[in-house]
Symmetry: C2
Subunit: 120 residues, 2 copies
């Protein structure tokens, strides 16, 4: 079955991004939930409801909103299957996957921070 691709084009204008690369990254993933969405999608494709469960206590509205923004930013791919009941699968684009080093760095730091606290 051929999935329907909706959106998928980056709508971001490079001229409107901050000069500093760090700030650029912040504008794209600094929302409360986006990093967690990426963390979970790094493990592979997920359906909407799967994401909701794996992320934690995120509401439908907010998850939808975040996913749409990330789709517009070219980080996430959304594939709709014409089935009943409907199935929608989310995955990372290449650009989205390229965030792995960032997530990994956050993972490592979080681990060592907790280890340091536990040592006291």
């Amino acid at each position: 079955m051929i999935p329907t691709y909706l959106g998928g084009l980056a709508m971001v204008n490079v001229n409107m991004l901050p000069a500093c690369p760090v700030e650029t990254t912040l504008t794209l993933i600094s929302d409360k939930w986006k990093v967690l969405i990426i963390r979970d999608l790094l493990d592979g494709t997920r359906r909407f409801s799967e994401l909701r469960r794996s992320i934690g206590h995120i509401s439908q509205k907010v998850l939808t909103s975040n996913l749409r923004q990330m789709e517009n930013d070219g980080l996430v791919r959304r594939e709709v299957y014409a089935e009943v009941p409907p199935r929608v699968e989310y995955s990372l684009t290449e650009t989205g996957q390229s965030l792995k080093p960032v997530i990994d760095a956050m993972w490592n730091w979080g681990e060592s921070y907790k280890a340091k606290l536990a040592a006291d």
Copy 2:
């Protein structure tokens, strides 16, 4: 969030941090300005007003608030010099400096993201 302060000493309770290390990191640096504060302090010690200028359009109240939290979380060191006019210097603790890989990863990703956009 959910840092606990024991006996007036800055102290985060490891048991109240999220299980996932990525979430732990988010808890500590996901505020709008903290990453930028760290970015600038990675270049060395800065006075309050220097930080204000280098960061951008942050208000006094918010900069103070963020710095206090980061001090409590053990990321930032605050040194007050008994002079007139007063001089207060901020620098990263070892723990704060250990965030460099995270900031670097964000820097690199932001650069390549903009390069990708510019290529289109």
